[in-house]
C-alpha cells in the first residue's frame, strides 16, 4: 500500500535558527514544528546527585489551542500528552547514543500546529528530523505511522483490509495502532494501540504498519540528504 507521498508529506530541516536542531513536518493535515536543544549540561538539582550513565531525554509537547476542529485549551498536565512525552523520550533513549553524553539533557520540544490523526507518529518523525539536524548521534531513524483495521470484529470477513496512515476522522471510527521502528527493518520500537480489536487482526495491521514505516523512512532519508546537499552547496559557493 503506497503512501500518497507526492502531495502528502512536507518535511523541512533547520527551520528555527535559535534551536540546535529543528524541523517542520506535515503528515496530511497534521502539522508539527519540532526543536531540539542539547545535549547540554543538566540543570543541577539539589539533593539528587543522579549519576545517570547517559544523557537524559526530555520531551515536551504543546498542542496549540487552534490545532483541532474545536478550539480547546490543552493543559500540560493532560495524562494523554504526558504519556506521549514519555513514549517519545523512551523511544529515542534506545536509539540515540546517550552514553556519549553523561550528565546531560537533550530537550525535544514539539509544537502541534494542526492535528488530523497520526499525532504520535508525526511527533516521532518530526523529532527524528530535528535530532538529525541537531547532529545528535543515533543508530537509526525512529519512524512511525498508524494503521487501522476496517472491521473490529472477526465475523466481518477476512478481506477487511488494514488502512495505512489514518486521518482524524478515521481514527475516531476505526481501531488503529501506532507503530514505530528503528534499528533495522521489522524492529518495533514503539507500539501503541488504544482501541479494541480482535487479536487475529493485529498481525496484518502490524505488517502493514511496518511497510508504511519503511516508506516513511525512505521519505525522511530523502529529505535529510537533500538538506545535506543544500548545506554543502552553500559552503562551496
Amino acid at each position: 500500500m503506497p503512501l500518497d507521498s507526492s502531495s502528502y508529506s512536507i518535511a523541512q530541516l533547520s527551520t528555527q535558527a535559535a534551536a540546535d536542531g529543528s524541523s517542520y513536518l506535515e503528515m496530511g493535515l497534521t502539522k508539527i514544528i519540532c526543536t531540539v536543544h542539547g545535549p547540554r549540561e543538566s540543570p543541577t538539582r539539589s539533593g539528587s546527585s543522579s549519576q545517570s550513565p547517559g544523557a537524559h531525554i526530555e520531551t515536551s509537547i504543546s498542542i496549540a489551542g487552534f490545532s483541532g476542529t474545536d478550539r480547546k485549551r490543552h493543559g500540560r498536565n493532560d495524562k494523554r500528552t504526558q504519556e506521549m512525552q514519555h513514549t517519545i523520550s523512551s523511544a529515542f533513549s534506545s536509539t540515540l547514543f546517550t552514553h556519549l553524553y553523561p550528565h546531560s539533557t537533550i530537550t525535544i520540544s514539539l509544537h502541534v500546529l494542526s492535528q488530523d490523526g497520526s499525532l504520535l507518529a508525526a511527533c516521532l518523525n518530526a523529532a527524528t528530523l530535528a535530532l538529525v539536524d541537531a547532529g545528535v548521534p543515533m543508530s537509526d531513524y525512529v519512524v512511525a505511522c498508524t494503521t487501522g483495521s476496517t472491521a473490529s470484529y472477526a465475523g466481518d470477513g477476512e478481506e477487511a483490509d488494514p488502512l495505512l496512515d489514518l486521518n482524524g476522522l478515521e481514527e475516531q471510527e476505526l481501531p488503529f495502532l501506532t507503530v514505530g521502528t528503528s534499528g533495522g527493518e521489522d524492529k518495533v520500537n514503539v507500539l501503541i494501540m488504544e482501541t479494541r480489536v480482535q487479536v487475529g487482526r493485529l498481525e496484518a495491521m502490524i505488517s502493514v504498519g511496518l511497510d508504511g514505516c519503511r516508506q516513511i523512512r525512505g521519505m525522511l532519508d530523502r529529505v535529510v540528504r537533500e538538506h545535506g546537499e543544500r548545506v554543502l552547496e552553500a559552503r562551496v559557493a
Binding site: 538539582r45 539533593g47 539528587s48 495524562k79 494523554r80 504526558q82 504519556e83 514519555h86 513514549t87 517519545i88 523520550s89 523512551s90 523511544a91 529515542f92 533513549s93 534506545s94 536509539t95 495502532l177 521502528t181 528503528s182 534499528g183 533495522g184 521489522d186 524492529k187 518495533v188 520500537n189 514503539v190 507500539l191 501503541i192 494501540m193 488504544e194 482501541t195 479494541r196 480489536v197 480482535q198 487479536v199 487475529g200 493485529l202 498481525e203 502490524i206 505488517s207 511496518l210
Partner: protein
Amino acid sequence: MPSEPAPSTNESTFLLSALRENIRLDGRALDAYRPISLTFGSEYGTADVRLGKTRVLAKIACEVTTPYPDRKFDGIFTINTELSPLGSPAFEVGRQDTTELLLSRVLEKTIRRSGALDTESLCIVAGQKCFHLKATLHVLDHDGNLVDASCLALVAALLHFRRQDIEVKGEDVTIFDVREREPIRLTIQHRPFCVSFSYYHNGEVMVQDATLLEEQCRQGEVVVSMNRFGEVAQIAKYGGAPVDGLSVLSCTTAALERVKGFDRMVTEALKADEARRDEGGLMAELSAENERPTGSMLVGSEN
C-alpha cells in the same frame, strides 16, 4: 526526591546472565506468575490482590451527581490511582511520577476506553441525575508488576460491587438503602486483564510478571490488555530497545492464555465469596422478593 535505589552491578549483571540461561532469581519459569491471591472485603466492591510481595487494594464507591452536559445518557466512571509511601518509600504524596502516569493510563485504556463498564447503565434521569462510580486503587506494597495486579484488582472489584437500587417514577427518583432492597450488580460488558512482558537481550528473553529488580534491569516492556475472547483492549510498548514485530505478536498469544486463567480465577473467587455471604440461603430469598424487570433501571437511557 526519593527514588527506588538502583540495583547493584552484581545484581543486574547476574540477573541478565541468569536470564540468558532461562533462570529467574526466584526459580520461576520465564512465563510463570508469582502466587496470586484474590480476596474480597466484607463490603461490596473491595478487592485485595497479592502477587508475590506486590499488594494492591481496589475500592469502588458510588454517589449520585449530575452527568456531564455533553454526555447526558452516561454515568460517570473515574479511576484514581494512589501510589503512596505506603507501597514503597520511592512514592511521594502529591508528586506524580512516571509509574503512576503509566499505570493510570493503562487502566484507563484497558477498562474505561474499551467499554468494560456500561456507563449508560449508571444513568438515572438523562441529563439530570446519574451515578458517579469512583474506583480507587491503593498500592500497598510494590514489588514489581503493579499493572497486572492493579488491573486484576480493579476488574474483580467492579464485578464484586453492588450499587444501590433505584426507582424512577416520572421526575421522582427513589434511591433505596441497601437494607430496603438488595443492591444491584454493575453491567460489565467484558473483562479485560493486563499482562505485562519485560524483555531482555534485545527481545530474545521475554519474562512475565517481573519483580521490581527485574523491572529495573529490563530493556523495555510490552503491556497487552485483552479479554478471554481474544479482543485486545490495548497494547503499549513505550520505546525501549526495539524488538521483532513477531515477538510482539507472540506476546498477544501468551497473554490470551494468561487472561483466560485470570478470568477463571476471578469467576471462582466471586463464586466463593457469594457462597460465603449466602450462608443458609438467605440471599436467595431476598433477591426473589426484589425481582423486577431490569428495564426500570435504564429509564434515563431510553429517550
